[in-house]
């Protein structure tokens, strides 16, 4: 996609009607509905059901009809909306100029200076807030678990952000390092009985070691090729985890991994447990809340180190590499080492997150490290706006908490009947959401870049100038 933008989009995009043309809108909506009908045949209109060894078909034309009518109405509403907006603003449609070259970033793309302290405050007080809302520790379990899940993805996003956002190396196999971290802790603790606090750094080192091993052969590759090779590496690691039964116990995974301890004090109900030692009543939630703060600290360390690195020569070299690799070489930068450090450091944080995952779950299996995970993490980075730390955090919240909220939409059962399970549609909507977000904001939520050093006046750099890297 290196060719310059050619705005030869079809008539319906370029010619935003200045007034709402009902006839044209009706016609276009009808065509859209017709295409939907075509797409629904036969995949929606007939459902294959199994009866013994035979397949038989059940028609669902009523469903197709509902969907086609729905699409028709939505398209019509969209036309009406676009027409009124065009009349209100009298500006070109969103497709005319996908990238305003020197446009001021919109209010959305600015990071308010209050945002970061606010986020941090909420993150720190989160378990307390939930406790106050829910009224008891046990009832806040779901929310704290969700908080842990979000923070895990925030950390993974920040880790991958080093590789993709800063160094511009497109990595589709990041989950491999997450897996290496998780299995490192799982194997080291179950075979050698090492504690989490020893395994955590070891997992990071092992993961960064793998980052370099996998990074080395792909140094020459660029863009989509790099993405595909890293994807292949990720899949190879997963398949090896499945098939190397002697080491990893195969698809069954490793269970009864030791739980986290409060720096050596176990979260048990016994006399030497955390609760007894500190004079609390025993509650399993102590461990969960401890895990929450543990991942919060790990994520903040990731963030702190990344921010630090950005201001160091290595971080500037990463960004320079993303902008122009050839110019980097001409300035004496060892691009090989620079890329490898990006892979290694990114992988290290993936490894930390992985061993956290293992200690939290108490169980690891290859299933947790499939390609979808890599895709989710990459989507978090890209949606966040590559290189933007706060953007990644927001994107992680949106992409992880959003689908999770679907579980709670139980009222939909009342609409669609008892057999309706909103959770089934989680990934369907996730995929569609990914497309929609890319179309809506290809550069992510926060596309601005903060300069790493300032002489007189700090000026944010418009996302349209920032390159996305060759590799």
């Amino acid at each position: 996609m290196n060719a310059p933008s050619i705005t030869t989009t079809s008539s319906q995009d370029t010619a935003v009607p200045s007034r709402f043309n009902l006839g044209a809108a009706l016609k276009d909506s009808a065509i859209t509905a017709l295409i939907t009908l075509g797409l629904s045949i036969p995949i929606l209109s007939y459902k294959t059901e199994q009866n013994g060894s035979d397949l038989f078909l059940r028609s669902r034309w009523e469903l197709v009809a509902v969907i086609c009518v729905g699409v028709f109405v939505l398209r019509l509403l969209m036309h009406a909306f676009l027409a009124t907006r065009a009349a209100r603003q009298a500006v070109p449609g969103p497709h005319q100029a996908t990238e305003p070259v020197h446009a001021e970033p919109s209010a959305f793309q600015h990071v308010s200076k209050f945002a970061i302290p606010m986020f941090l405050g909420v993150a720190l007080a989160f378990p307390a807030i939930i406790y106050l809302i829910q009224g008891s520790l046990n009832e806040s379990r779901y929310w704290v678990d969700l908080g842990i899940l979000i923070l895990t993805y925030v950390m993974l996003g920040w880790g991958l952000n080093i590789v993709v956002g800063l160094a511009g190396l497109l990595d589709l196999g990041y989950v491999a390092f997450y897996a290496v971290g998780a299995y490192s802790y799982a194997l080291l603790s179950t075979t050698f009985g090492l504690s989490f606090w020893i395994c955590l750094p070891l997992a990071g080192i092992l993961a960064s070691f793998w980052g370099m091993i996998l990074g080395f052969p792909v140094l020459r590759l660029r863009g989509d090729y790099l993405a595909i090779v890293t994807l292949a590496f990720g899949e190879i690691i997963r398949l090896v985890l499945i098939n190397w039964v002697d080491l990893t116990n195969g698809g069954a995974g490793i269970s009864s991994i030791p739980r986290v301890t409060f720096f050596g004090v176990p979260f048990t109900s016994g006399d030497d447990g955390f609760a007894a030692l500190f004079g609390f009543d025993f509650n399993n939630m102590h461990r969960i809340i401890f895990l929450y703060y543990l991942i919060l600290v790990l994520a903040l360390v990731t963030n702190f180190v990344t921010m630090r690195l950005r201001k160091l020569p290595v971080g500037r070299a990463w960004e320079a590499l993303r902008e122009d690799e050839i110019a980097c070489r001409s300035l004496g930068i060892n691009t090989t080492n620079t890329k490898l450090t990006a892979f290694a450091i990114g992988a290290m944080f993936g490894g930390f997150a992985g061993s956290f995952f293992a200690v939290r779950q108490g169980f690891v299996s290859p299933e947790s490290f499939n390609f979808l995970e890599s895709a989710i993490i990459l989507a978090i980075v890209v949606l966040g706006g590559m290189g933007s730390q706060i953007g990644v955090a927001i994107a992680a919240i949106v992409l992880v908490a959003g689908p999770e909220m679907l579980r709670n939409l139980t009222f939909l059962k009342a609409v669609f009947g008892e057999s309706f399970d909103p959770n089934e549609y989680r990934l369907l909507l996730f995929g569609a959401g990914m497309v929609a977000m890319m179309v809506w904001r290809p550069r992510g939520l926060i596309s601005e870049r903060e300069p790493s050093v300032v002489l007189k006046e700090r000026k944010a750099i418009s996302g349209s100038l920032v390159k996305e890297g060759h590799g």
């Binding site: 996609m1 060719a3 310059p4 933008s5 050619i6 030869t8 989009t9 295409i35 075509g38 797409l39 045949i41 036969p42 995949i43 007939y46 459902k47 294959t48 059901e49 199994q50 060894s53 035979d54 397949l55 038989f56 078909l57 497709h95 996908t98 990238e99 497109l170 052969p217 792909v218 020459r220 590759l221 989509d224 090729y225 993405a227 595909i228 090779v229 292949a232 190879i236 398949l239 090896v240 098939n243 050839i326 390609f371 979808l372 895709a375 990459l378 989507a379 890209v382 089934e424 990934l427 369907l428 996730f430 995929g431 569609a432 990914m434 497309v435 890319m438 179309v439 290809p442 996305e468």
Partner: protein
């Protein structure tokens, strides 16, 4: 020797299927320089479309001639899958053209996730087995130990269909103005549009052709294995992409050649080494080819411009 011959036949059959999918990857990459990540799922979707039509034709309409049924299924599946190919390009890729380079790739991953889950929701998560459509085999050779080398009718159908469609398709891109427009867009899209080529239409047609060939592959896959599931898009997709890269991405004969090679490697690997690691082998080949010979067998090497 017997096993070798049998695996050769099996490998070529499988390879034709991969080759058909690979063409979709290679053409799209050639013309807009993106890896159409969702292509494998389009293939899977087409297998489902074929399955449903096959059931309609045989159980509801009572068509007993398998060849006739297959032919109708093939045509219908090609038309409807093409519509999907067109719609995907229109919705998920066209608005991103000329934008941030990563955006289409992310969008394609989104489409891939959407498609496989769409099929899962619409058709259920279980494998869909069909009764074998074509059972007859020709025994080519029978060894004294009782081992037979057989060429089944369905293998013949698959290889023949592939060959015929490839010839038609080859004619289309080499001899018609569509093919010329396509090649022009590959070289320089901006210049092509200045010379009056409808770039959007050409790109749409590329997706349509790619999807149509994927649907042939999907139908053949169903015929060959007799079972399909919503998750069947990813791995064949990756293997076909490997084939496209191995053959030299952007090169059409390369895609077919790459497909055949990958098919052969896979069957031989499964026969002689370990079947568990056959996907590892495929992914390893992909990595090795991309790293050591990124321009593939028939591709043109890229020279770094300073």
């Amino acid at each position: 020797m017997d096993i070798f011959l049998q695996q050769l036949i099996n490998g070529l059959t499988l390879g034709s299927i991969y080759g058909l999918i690979a063409i979709g990857y290679t053409m799209v990459f050639g013309i807009i320089g993106m890896v159409n990540f969702a292509h494998g799922d389009v293939f899977m979707l087409s297998a489902f479309i074929a399955l449903i039509f096959f059931l309609i034709l045989t159980t509801w309409l009572g068509i007993s001639s398998i060849v006739l049924a297959l032919l109708i299924v093939l045509v219908l599946s090609m038309i409807l899958t093409s519509l999907w190919g067109w719609a995907i390009e229109r919705i998920a890729y066209r608005p991103l053209r000329g934008s941030f380079r990563l955006a289409p790739l992310i969008s394609a991953i989104g489409v891939s996730i959407f498609l496989s889950n769409f099929v899962q929701v619409a058709q259920g998560a279980r494998n869909k087995p069909t009764a074998p459509m074509v059972r007859d085999v020709i025994v080519l050779y029978q060894s004294e130990a009782g081992y037979t080398v057989a060429l089944s009718y369905k293998q013949i159908i698959i290889m023949l269909t592939t060959a015929v469609l490839l010839t038609i398709f080859w004619y289309l891109v080499q001899k018609t103005s569509l093919g010329r427009a396509q090649r022009a867009c590959e070289q320089d899209r901006k210049m092509a549009s200045l010379l009056g080529i409808d770039v959007d239409k050409t790109i749409s047609l590329t997706f349509v052709i790619g999807a149509a060939l994927a649907s042939v592959a999907g139908t053949m896959y169903l015929l060959y294995y007799g079972v399909v599931s919503f998750a069947d898009g990813f791995v064949p997709g990756v293997k076909a992409f490997t084939a496209a890269v191995l053959g030299g991405i952007g090169s059409l004969p390369g895609a077919v050649l790459g497909g055949l090679i990958i098919g052969l490697i896979e069957t031989f690997w499964s026969a002689y080494f370990s079947i568990e690691y056959k996907d590892v082998a495929a992914f390893s080949i992909l990595a090795i080819v991309l790293i050591f010979m990124p321009s593939g067998i028939l591709g043109r090497p890229e020279v770094e411009k300073v």
